[in-house]
Symmetry: D2
Subunit: 375 residues, 4 copies
Amino acid sequence: MRQKLRAAVVGATGVAGQQFLLALAGHPWFSISGVAASERSAGKTYGDALGTTGWCSASAPPAEALPLIVQDGSQLAAGAGRDFDVVFSALESDAAKLIEPGLAQHVPVFSTASAYRYEPDVPILIPGVNPEHAPLLHVQRRRRGWKGFIAPGPNCTTTGLVICLRPLLDAFGLRRVIMTSLQAVSGAGRTPGVLALDIVDNVVPYIAKEEEKVEAETRKILGQYRGPSDARQAADSDGALGQIEPLTLGVSCTCTRVPVLDGHTETVYCATEKPAPLPAVRQALLGLGQALHDLGLPSMPAQLISLRDEPNRPQPRLDRETGGGMTTVVGRLRPETVLGEHGVKFVLLSHNTRMGAAGGAVLTAEWLLKLGYFG
Amino acid sequence: MRQKLRAAVVGATGVAGQQFLLALAGHPWFSISGVAASERSAGKTYGDALGTTGWCSASAPPAEALPLIVQDGSQLAAGAGRDFDVVFSALESDAAKLIEPGLAQHVPVFSTASAYRYEPDVPILIPGVNPEHAPLLHVQRRRRGWKGFIAPGPNCTTTGLVICLRPLLDAFGLRRVIMTSLQAVSGAGRTPGVLALDIVDNVVPYIAKEEEKVEAETRKILGQYRGPSDARQAADSDGALGQIEPLTLGVSCTCTRVPVLDGHTETVYCATEKPAPLPAVRQALLGLGQALHDLGLPSMPAQLISLRDEPNRPQPRLDRETGGGMTTVVGRLRPETVLGEHGVKFVLLSHNTRMGAAGGAVLTAEWLLKLGYFG
Amino acid sequence: MRQKLRAAVVGATGVAGQQFLLALAGHPWFSISGVAASERSAGKTYGDALGTTGWCSASAPPAEALPLIVQDGSQLAAGAGRDFDVVFSALESDAAKLIEPGLAQHVPVFSTASAYRYEPDVPILIPGVNPEHAPLLHVQRRRRGWKGFIAPGPNCTTTGLVICLRPLLDAFGLRRVIMTSLQAVSGAGRTPGVLALDIVDNVVPYIAKEEEKVEAETRKILGQYRGPSDARQAADSDGALGQIEPLTLGVSCTCTRVPVLDGHTETVYCATEKPAPLPAVRQALLGLGQALHDLGLPSMPAQLISLRDEPNRPQPRLDRETGGGMTTVVGRLRPETVLGEHGVKFVLLSHNTRMGAAGGAVLTAEWLLKLGYFG
Amino acid sequence: MRQKLRAAVVGATGVAGQQFLLALAGHPWFSISGVAASERSAGKTYGDALGTTGWCSASAPPAEALPLIVQDGSQLAAGAGRDFDVVFSALESDAAKLIEPGLAQHVPVFSTASAYRYEPDVPILIPGVNPEHAPLLHVQRRRRGWKGFIAPGPNCTTTGLVICLRPLLDAFGLRRVIMTSLQAVSGAGRTPGVLALDIVDNVVPYIAKEEEKVEAETRKILGQYRGPSDARQAADSDGALGQIEPLTLGVSCTCTRVPVLDGHTETVYCATEKPAPLPAVRQALLGLGQALHDLGLPSMPAQLISLRDEPNRPQPRLDRETGGGMTTVVGRLRPETVLGEHGVKFVLLSHNTRMGAAGGAVLTAEWLLKLGYFG
């Protein structure tokens, strides 16, 4: 890398936006060159927009961000491609729907919003999990006439699940998956967020639209891409463009909120097509993403999945920082023999604001940059 | 009832024992006539044994218990049948193993301990769920030569589950059950209990031996009793005595601890033999235990199961006191259609120290007394 | 009381408004006859305005409120005096500033808002604490030409403090007061409320404007009223009307937020003018409000102050429901001898949404009604 | 330093002992050369003694400690001076009383136990706060005939308080101090520790003996040492040995427990002898310990006290890791003018298991080693 790419962060004052700034602070490939937020903050420095009480993390805000003048959405769009080379978007879904396309006309947009996840020409990429979906971005570019593209990450609850399902699917086949999540409050951000009144000494056994998202995204991410495999093929293709055929897999989720600050815990049962003996399961899980290490991606952890053998792990407070929050920690790995089918059970922990949001989006950006997708 | 039966509470200073005292305070059929605890407390009044900081509940301790002299286990055994007519035992399993038989020689013993749950001549009774198992107590008496008997309640996590499974089994048949629990800290009592250090901002995805207990107890409680149906038949029978044949059912549990004070939440998926349309499921659940109402049991709630239609219920803090903590609250009732089999999903909440422990044991005692089992 | 007075609750969908409804449910003197809220809710039934997830309490909403049509502020004002006889206002301060006067033109308004607390013709009344301030309401009526009046309660953190200071001031004189509060999250309501993100595993040592409020309100409530003592005197008086001269007392507060749902804990040090031996302090505290018992006020608890002798009480979770949340619980009563002045230290607990808000306002309404202030 | 000193950690399996291991991991001056614990663990490797669930911290245990064979107290004593050069003791007070003297006969003992804090020949040292007390260790050695010495740190709640009081005392004089603590659960360790049952959604306004300790230790640490100033003088002195004359200062504490994992918050009011204008207060606080920086102590943070100007800081979760947990963070600094005396108020945060326990003890060891006290 000769020169750092200039990155703009949209939605920079919210919880997810702050996580982007932390993920980009001191990044060897990207510099924080622009911040955008709502009109209320526009025109102030980022430091002033935060005020004395607006920063949420124990880690201090990156010094390079504090003097930047906050832009609003339309100002930002005007400078796309000229003032910055890549966008990281932490917008809410409705705002993302409006603003992200104007940015993607000019530069790659990596987003934590769900707005475009379910479009047919938009892949939901996780490095190491579905690399074969990346060429759909060429299709997206051609179909929409964009210089850039929109590459949204999955819902934070999907992330850990598909990371574990990918190797199990490849090794043993999957017949059905039943998952219960115990999700952290940071997943809801600050607006409206989860009130202490609602969650202290409590469990809320429902998160609006979450189960549908996880189920649909899992099937899409594990689905099969059919279409041109590189930019030239995409450019040459006629209207019969690429698409992802979702995996035919029954995924049944119950998503709950618990009084945990960070880190989504998920209990998972998988019925497999073939027998799944534990040593082979361990080997499959530990093997995920090994090929990525050669790329030298700055945000890539030592392991995408780590295994804990202690009976009482993973625990969010003890394990969420594993691999800088980029590693999915799996424990309680057990064969399930009593249900009359081949099965395996485990508990996973995924850091919802790192690998499950900003950190994962930055990793994806690194990976696509390395693969030449920035064009 | 002409005269109240005199009840002794064993393990009376612990969390579960205190719950027994609260469940018996002002009871129309039982009077608190004796309390027993460890040697450290023996000889003191119950009030002195508690000291200024030993009572755990926001409800004050029953006034009638405070002046009682705490006995140790052997003192208590000496007075069984003479000084009291029934025992409620909140002992830890090891102590229960030693002490409960000596008491059961003379009087009925209702216990929250697991010590005798898995013995072949011991039913795990829940009124409304497995009344047909009650006659096994006659067998137990005859086989052991006891005047009384031991009637343990199920593990607090089993209780809510089997209460919901019973009507589903009867109406639709069950093929397999997959359950994740989010359990309250009061379930672990005070010795050793769950340290705040271990559970604040955390989930512990493991409770030692809990999953095995729930799976085995569920199969036993839903199993089929074969044997004499009343005391006379039991007395006349030869050595080929009664037994419970566990239900052949795959039950797969993951038990976790969450930062909740009281109330176990469980997410449940049931694959059923027959289609289980929601109206029929609702009707089945709501019908549980209707026959019990005629008995006028003082601890019987208006409903054994109540249904909540709001999407975000049941919640432990809002719903655990339903029916005085004796009602299992079910919400998020959904057909499960994507898994290639007939299925239904729901979330249940059961108060682990009421219906799931002391309250449930007192209800069982009321029921067996009414049925004439006290002899 | 022949017929119930018709009460309207303003701000009825918020946390404080819901507490008013609970405090008025089945009330022998008041019926819930009207509910008002923001325009978003207006025109719906109260039940529909709550929706399936809007009710915050474990106690169900009063059945009589559910079918009422929610009004907005101006609709409500139009019916004052015609459709209802008294208003309980749970408005935010800005809205209260605008709406309460229009209502007070016609009917008494009891408010939890701070909007009018610091006006010279507005007393901050607590039955048993400053009854001599009540005649200022006559002055307010005359000065403003209102048929009704505005009677705001104190800030929820002031309530418990002045309840304890009143008898100490009377018995021993007060030289200075130093208080640290550990406040519950329900004090912040739901908009914006306290986010779990901000308070789990945390203390926030600041609540905007709270310390100033508590200090000023304490001096006012303990101050001396000078002015006409009844309605006739007030009517006859010229412009030189009544007023409250605040107590000259140094009150120094530090207000913090802690992860507690309900119940404000306060640690208090009082330097007294005269020696304050413990037996006399106990007697003084326990004597508060004894004269009120003859009035038969429905919300009056058995004691305004109760004392706990256990070293580790009061605790919010165990003690906040004392007297239905209307009793201030005091513990850790100690003489303070090392500071070179007469002093006494204690810890108090006051339920911030009961006696400290809606419950206290209803008690004040009962008291003023009994005294003939409703006119 | 040519060669690392060999350190033994006593009480190594508990929370405080684990903190010692973390504070010593990779330490440039000390190597972890021995671990001791109760008989139950003795003879096992440290790793085996922990088992799969015994380690409490998110940071992994130091690799060098895992293969060490755990010794019991008497084994350890036998090797003092031969197998190790310094001891760090995390024993409970009763065990410390018995075991620490035998070790101090041979080597310096740095302890978090209170057992010897109040002995007349034992200073309670904090580098930067009371360096003039260090020579009392010479007196201790001579009086007791020891080659080593016992140097206990203060109670974790005293630490932050005296760190702030020292510069205020020097700059303005202190007339009286009134403090309320909001203490974290880790301060109580694991045996018995604070049960989640007792602290979730709660405050416990009492910690046994804590207030007395803080008050007495504060007066001792801020007191005046009179006696020989170096080892030779101590050796030459007759029986009229050195001592610390406690400061005559009224210190009044109320110690509470709150649902926070780590980090003690304290609200402090100080009446000063002289006016204490804020700029001078800030300068005084920030100046503490500047002289220490020349010594190059490995555990010394950039600042002993840091100031936060945001109104809502310090907060335990956001600020406890400041300076690696070795910095006391002070906020809400305000003059107090209403109490009729010169005064200043603030809120401090001190990490109770770092600077307030193991970290502080290691810092003290570094400091005394550098000053030549190890002999």
